[in-house]
């Protein structure tokens, strides 16, 4: 890996945020700043494979109170590509089991000289709670079913890369909308950038209330499929469900799995995303997941680019 200093420019004046807690509160302009920066980082770092040590001397802490492989690795790698140091902290190795509160744990980590905390937690609002209680920057890497802003951004970046735009596209989020933070971040981001959003899934997992926010609510995938430019197939989050919202996985797959029969009913250039981890055979069949319409692996690269952009914007290069 070669180390070369590439001038990525300075943080745009319109970017003033110290934290990234959600996409709901971001403007279209702010969303575009992140997406444009992600593209710039991707280009400048050889598809995110080379180092751009513009954050050297800074330290990011990953505070993951919930399991994650992809997101945590991606944030760590993004920080290291920018030359920052990273420390990892997970609940299994923490003193939470000794009765320490979440905020005390975070304050202790911060006291070690941390510039940014990347936090994942099973409870909505914890990133915000943390931002109110620490002085360093906070990046939400997923708070329960609330938001997962960098996932929303990388999904949107993947769509923009493949289809060249967001405005005017019809994007369907399919599956467990109720328990999906990815769905919420996608809805806010896509709506602000001018897409038409459909949420589709079993009626027990798709609230009618989404219509009040200008989102189309559908229960029958086959009727909406021919209109869709993008499908984002969300995982059924068994771990967040307190009661069984549908009779069986088999029935779910029958009604909502994206397979080659359904693909034949879709637009020729339909783009298929899945935030992962994917349940092959439940929301997507292997032939579709690995086929030409799928952007599942590009999403992973774009995740790195988005997280580099976010860290750079949040920590303000050169500060």
């Amino acid at each position: 890996m070669s180390i070369e200093v590439v001038d990525i420019g300075s943080v745009p004046a319109a970017w003033t945020r110290r934290h990234l807690l959600d996409l709901e509160s971001l403007s279209a302009e702010e969303l575009n700043i992140i997406l444009d920066a992600a593209v710039a980082f991707k280009e400048a770092s050889g598809n995110c494979t080379q180092k751009l040590p513009i954050l050297s001397g800074r330290t990011c802490a990953n505070l993951f109170f919930e399991n994650s492989t992809r997101t945590r690795t991606s944030f760590s790698l993004a920080a290291r590509r920018l030359g920052a140091d990273t420390i990892d902290f997970s609940s299994s190795s923490s003193s939470l089991s000794k009765g320490e509160t979440f905020i005390d744990t975070a304050k202790n980590i911060e006291a070690m000289g941390i510039d940014a905390i990347v936090v994942r937690h099973r409870t909505p609002g914890t990133a915000q709670l943390l931002a109110q209680n620490v002085h360093c920057s906070v990046i939400n890497a997923g708070d329960g079913a609330h938001e997962h802003p960098t996932q929303g951004l990388l999904d949107i970046l993947s769509i923009r890369e493949r289809l060249g735009r967001i405005e005017g596209l019809t994007v369907a989020l399919v599956g467990d909308i109720a328990h999906s933070r990815t769905a919420r971040s996608n809805i806010w981001g896509l709506k602000k950038l001018g897409a038409h959003v459909i949420v589709c899934g079993p009626s027990t997992l798709v609230s009618k209330h989404w219509e009040e926010l200008g989102v189309e609510v559908a229960y029958d995938l086959d009727t909406i499929l021919p209109r869709c430019d993008v499908l984002n197939l969300l995982r059924i989050q068994f771990e967040r469900q307190t009661t069984r919202p549908f009779p069986s996985v088999r029935e779910y797959a029958l009604l909502y799995a994206m397979n080659h029969e359904r693909l034949a009913q879709a637009k020729q250039d339909i783009l298929i995303l899945a935030p992962g981890p994917i349940n092959r055979g439940v929301e997507i069949t292997p032939d579709v997941a690995d086929g030409p319409h799928s952007a599942i692996l590009e999403q992973v690269t774009n995740g790195l680019a988005v997280r580099m952009a976010v860290l750079w914007l949040i920590l303000g290069a050169g500060n």
Partner: protein
């Protein structure tokens, strides 16, 4: 009665003349400017004139009300003294204008025996702040399985029964409790919630919970249990009191049940007629309570229910929790907020000032109505001659800002911090003794010395 000198006599109280206030006593449809004389711990006379032997309290510009009663207070002692004690809770009560409170038995241990009832009574007497009526458990150990000894508890002084914190879940147990309590003419106070529908819930289920990704507690969970309780009360002829009503559906069910003569009463808390689920957008655990803050249509229904008499009582559901417990992730933080020191200001600011309720209607819901439900209306909640000398003098115009740092309660878990309210208790008299007085500069003192003598 002339005070005597000497150690013993210092304890005797001089008569008090409340002079020139607007006396509002809904128990006798009274609303006029007059004087009230208190003597020997009783209301001695209305329209009294000064005779020179009394302390005169100038009440001009103030409202003189029967002492306010809060029939839904969690005092936490015994068991959770880190949240509240009987001393701090009753201090908060008098500071908020309440001369009587009823304490809910979800303590550790729960109040389900004569001994625990008497423990509360003893601690309340030691605290010597306000009257404390004991609500005892419906079921042994508050487990919802077998009836507690409701007859013995009644003899010990329990005024009502409740397993609050949890609903009386078993329909057969509720039926038996309602039937059995007819013998003592005591009400069952029930927390109406179908748990299967609220499992894991943190807030009201609606658009806001959907956006925030927080597990919801749908209004129908309250409505279904309210409906069951109404049916059981109707079938048994027992007295049911639905606690802290918060949903439009429940208000409607109660309105219709009352119209056909079911022995049914109900209450609402200030947070349910002032706040909506939008407050949760900040993820503030001080907005987490059960039943939860609901949508505006539910708030409107609660106000309409208060206005048309469907809702009999305004109570606080004062639920203190130590700061460290509330400063947790939202799903880990306990349900509930403190309410004793903000309730009166919220009633005046949010119900009386906007014209939803007139003074007499509002005060009835904080005086004679709860007194009747608890069966203490001969001596409490009224200024009839001979009643206990419990009086709340209200300054209806004073504007003040809620500052939790000044609470007498041991806990500060309130969503109203920083709110600007109008009206509060100026002087609070319990059994003829001034227990709370707001001095001009806002400090308080022992009123026996500050009641202005002439």
């Amino acid at each position: 009665m002339i005070p005597q000198e000497g150690n013993y006599a210092v304890r005797a109280t001089r008569p008090i003349l409340l002079e020139g206030g607007r006396v509002i006593d809904p128990s006798q449809s009274l609303d006029r400017i007059t004087n009230v004389r208190l003597e020997d711990g009783r209301v001695a006379a209305l329209d009294a004139i000064a005779t020179g032997d009394e302390d005169v309290l100038d009440c001009s510009g103030k409202i003189v009300s029967p002492g306010l009663i809060d029939m839904h207070v969690h005092l936490r002692e015994p068991g959770r003294e880190e949240d509240e004690t009987i001393l701090t809770g009753t201090s908060a009560a008098v500071a908020g204008g309440f001369t009587s409170i009823a304490c809910i038995p979800n303590t550790e241990p729960p109040i389900d025996t004569q001994a625990t009832v008497e423990f509360i009574q003893h601690q309340a007497a030691r605290a010597d702040k306000c009257n404390v009526f004991v609500v005892a458990c419906v079921s042994k150990n508050r487990e919802g399985k077998e009836l507690a000894e409701l007859g013995h508890l009644s003899q010990a002084g329990a005024v009502a029964f409740s397993d609050d914190g949890a609903p009386v879940y078993d329909a057969e147990l509720m039926r038996r409790a309602l039937e059995y309590c007819r013998m003592f003419d005591k009400p069952i106070l029930n927390h109406a919630e179908v748990r299967e529908l609220t499992q894991g819930g943190v807030m009201h289920e609606g658009v806001v919970s959907m956006i925030l990704g927080l597990p919801g507690m749908p209004a129908v969970a309250e409505d279904v249990m309210t409906s069951r309780d109404i049916a059981l009360a109707e079938a048994t002829g027992g007295r049911i009191h639905i606690m802290h009503v918060s949903s439009a559906g429940s208000v409607d069910l109660i309105r219709r049940a009352k119209a056909r003569g079911v022995r049914l009463t109900t209450e609402v808390c200030p947070h349910h007629f002032t706040l909506t689920d939008e407050c949760l957008r900040t993820f503030d655990s001080n907005c987490k309570m059960s039943p939860p803050l609901r949508g505006q249509e539910h708030v409107n229904a609660c106000i309409a229910g208060l206005a048309d008499g469907t809702i009999d009582v305004i109570c606080t559901d004062h639920a203190p929790h130590a700061l460290e417990k509330k400063m947790r992730e939202l799903d880990q933080a306990p349900f509930g907020i403190v309410g004793l020191e903000t309730a009166l200001g919220l009633v005046i600011t949010k119900l009386i000032e906007p014209g939803h309720l007139d003074w007499s209607t509002a005060l009835a819901k904080m005086t004679i109505n709860p007194a009747r439900i608890l069966g203490v209306h001969r001596t409490k909640g009224t200024l009839k001659v001979g009643a206990d000398a419990d009086v709340t003098v209200i300054d209806p115009d004073v504007r003040w800002t809620v500052d939790p740092a000044k609470f007498r309660s041991k806990s500060t878990n309130t969503p109203f911090a920083g709110w600007k309210l109008q009206g509060r208790a100026d002087t609070v008299i319990v059994a003829g003794r001034v227990k709370h007085k707001v001095a001009a500069e806002g400090a308080t003192a022992d009123g026996r010395r500050t009641a202005k003598a002439r």
